[in-house]
């Protein structure tokens, strides 16, 4: 495998409720690699699947780009969109949603629908970090559950790419916490019917997302170097007052500690997932 650690800081900062980024890859000609610091021609980046040519770093990508990498044009049909309510009347939340919608063009952080991957029908879901850190509120929870329910009804496998910052969406208070139960139960029903769920952890999969459906895959894959864990590294550092071990909470670390089945570089992801789907038909 690529040595993705070269020149990498010990861990990356997670901003659970950070501002949505204006744009993933601004129209600048050049983008700086988060990992090795090299400047990369942005057009070049698009061609490689948003991998740094010098260090192999996997850039965070939008749900739409991810879906385009996994399906042929026309082979993804999204579920009807849902829009966030403001269940606990959290100050500024409604506005935050509106801004995120405008900036990302998404209704909420999850894009879920029926897809065909290398000839296998499945339910494909992708969480988009740029929508309020890819956090799980009522909409993401409901969409995921509908995904699993459709899969159950039509006896389809499910593939979810999870990459949300802090996991839960604080602005929905207890409703957000309950999405952990709701999604975990949806996985449970689907699983108990003998159906396949491939969970792919992309950077970063933390908190309530990691501690619910994303950990319940029959097969759990991760992209190289993705941060995966329950508590954010800063909280762990502050609580324990210990220096975090090198590579703490990276996919590689999780693999070593027995938590994931395999690390799959983005360039192999389509073939890897496609093969697993085919073998479970």
């Amino acid at each position: 495998m690529l040595n993705v650690f070269k020149g990498k800081p010990k861990y990356m900062t997670v901003r659970p409720q950070g501002e949505p980024q204006r744009k993933e890859f601004p129209d600048n000609l050049w983008t700086r690699c988060d990992c090795c610091g090299k400047m990369i021609f942005t057009k070049e980046l698009e061609k490689t699947g948003f991998l740094c040519a010098s260090c192999g770093h996997h850039f965070r990508i939008s749900a739409i780009k991810r879906i385009a990498m996994l399906t042929e044009p026309g082979d993804f049909q999204a579920f009807p969109p849902l829009v966030a309510a403001d269940p606990i009347g959290f100050p500024g939340y409604a506005e935050k949603i509106k801004v995120a919608q405008e900036q990302t063009g998404l209704d909420d952080a999850a894009l879920i629908g029926k897809a065909k991957i290398q000839g296998s029908l499945c339910i494909l879901g992708v969480i988009d970090f740029s929508f309020i850190g890819g956090s799980m509120g009522s909409v993401v929870g409901e969409q995921l559950v509908r995904g699993f329910e459709t899969a159950l009804k039509e006896e389809l496998p499910v593939v979810i790419f999870s990459g949300g910052g802090g996991g839960a969406r604080m602005h929905e208070g207890i409703f957000s916490l309950m999405q952990m139960a709701k999604t975990a139960q949806a996985v449970g029903k689907h699983s108990r019917a003998g159906l396949l769920f491939i969970s792919v952890l992309t950077h970063p999969t933390m908190g309530g997302v990691y501690a619910s459906f994303a950990s319940l895959g029959d097969i759990i894959l991760a992209e190289p170097c993705a941060l995966v864990g329950f508590a954010g590294p800063r909280i762990v550092e502050e609580t324990t007052r210990q220096k975090l071990p090198a590579g703490f909470q990276t996919a590689e670390y999780a693999l070593q500690h027995g938590m994931i089945d395999a690390i799959v570089p983005r360039s192999h992801m389509l073939d890897y997932v496609g093969r697993l789907l085919a073998w479970h038909r």
Binding site: P16, Q17, P80, P81, L82, V83, A84, A85, D86, P87, I88, F90, D107, S138, V139, G141, E142, V145, A168, M170, E172, G173, I174, F175, L177, M178, Q179, M180, A181, K182, A184, Q185, V187, G188, K189, R192, M206, G207, G208, Y210, A211, S212, F213, S215, L216, V228, G229, F230, A231, G232, V236, T239, T240, Q242, L244, P245, F248, H257, G258, M259
Partner: protein, 322 residues
């Protein structure tokens, strides 16, 4: 006993009444009229203060060091208890206590996180913050309960799952997910009672009940008020404001349909009267256990799933918007 700033007026009044009573005893003088007046005043004041607590005042009540925690409740609520240890794969985590207890003749499996009572106990119990092996023990005991058709009672008082290096290494997130998932499908009645702090995933992991009850001065939230304040304003001292925003009180949660009932505490909080708190909880347990034990298992699990299935607020995008 540690007192809160906001309850000082009533405590001072209570002290004054006690003094007078002592005086009466020793001097054989008649202050009964005065005492009566003061007691009426105290009673009014108590109601005024304790029935109008702010959310954050309840949070601090939930954290009172003398508030009963799981082992206290186990002796208050059950007639006998046998503790079982270990996750059968790594360690016995004393931050979660579990075993079989007799509730009015009925064996039940009881599980709950436990805070320490002194420094030594706190170290043994990791300040009540469970590691993955604590949740694995809980899951093991819940499955045991299912095997023997024993109802489960979970007593929840936990700030959260431990955010430590080894806890992460041994799969804290994964084990919480597994607990939630497996608990959801257990074919045995489950009663969950949030007795103190209901901190996020660490509480939810043992909180998938058929009925979920909550003590009056307990809280349950996706995030602690302090952490929420830190994220919003980079200032954890504004936790009281965050507590308002989070809607973490039993009243809010009952309204939202997250919990089923609120268990009243003695005025001034559970820590002021353990025995009465226990009696109060017992009567709720009696009622709710009897209810869920009557439901056929298929229905029970179906309804448990349906309960969580419907939680969530959102709008279907209208056709016009599409």
């Amino acid at each position: 006993m540690q007192a809160f700033e906001w309850e000082k007026p009533v405590l001072e009044l209570e002290a004054r009444i006690n003094e007078l009573k002592q005086f009466v005893h020793s001097e054989e003088m008649d202050f009964s009229a005065e005492i009566k007046t003061l007691e009426r005043k105290a009673s009014r004041l108590r109601k005024e203060i304790y029935e109008n607590l702010t959310p954050f005042q309840r949070v601090t009540m939930a954290r009172h060091p003398k508030r009963p925690s799981t082992v206290d409740y186990i002796s208050l609520l059950f007639d006998e208890f046998v503790e079982f240890h270990g996750d059968r794969s790594f360690r016995d985590d004393q931050a979660i206590v579990g075993g079989v207890a007799l509730f009015e003749g009925q064996p039940v499996t009881v599980i709950g996180p436990q805070k320490g009572r002194d420094t030594k106990d706190n170290i043994a119990r990791n300040f009540g913050l469970p590691h993955p092996e604590g949740y694995r023990k809980a899951l093991r005991l819940m499955k045991q309960a299912e095997k023997f058709g024993r109802p489960i009672v979970t007593l929840i008082d936990v700030v959260g799952a431990y955010p430590g290096i080894e806890a992460e290494e041994r799969g804290q997130g994964l084990v919480i997910a597994q607990c939630i998932e497996e608990m959801s499908f257990l074919r045995t009645p489950i009663l969950s009672i949030i007795t103190g702090e209901g901190g996020s995933g660490g509480a939810l992991a043992i909180g998938i009940g058929d009925r979920i009850l909550m003590l009056e001065n307990a809280w349950y939230s996706v995030i602690s008020p302090e952490m929420c304040a830190t994220i919003l304003w980079r200032d954890s001292s504004r936790a009281a404001e965050a507590a308002e925003l989070l809607r973490l009180t039993p009243t809010d949660l009952l309204k939202f349909g997250i919990i089923d009932d609120v268990i009243t505490e003695p005025l001034g909080g559970a820590h002021r009267d353990h025995a009465n708190t226990g009696m109060q909880i017992r009567s709720f347990m009696r009622r709710y256990l009897a209810t869920i034990m009557k439901v056929p298992l298929d229905t029970l699990v179906e309804e448990r799933l349906a309960r969580f299935r419907r939680i969530g607020e959102f709008h279907e995008k209208s056709l016009a918007e599409l």
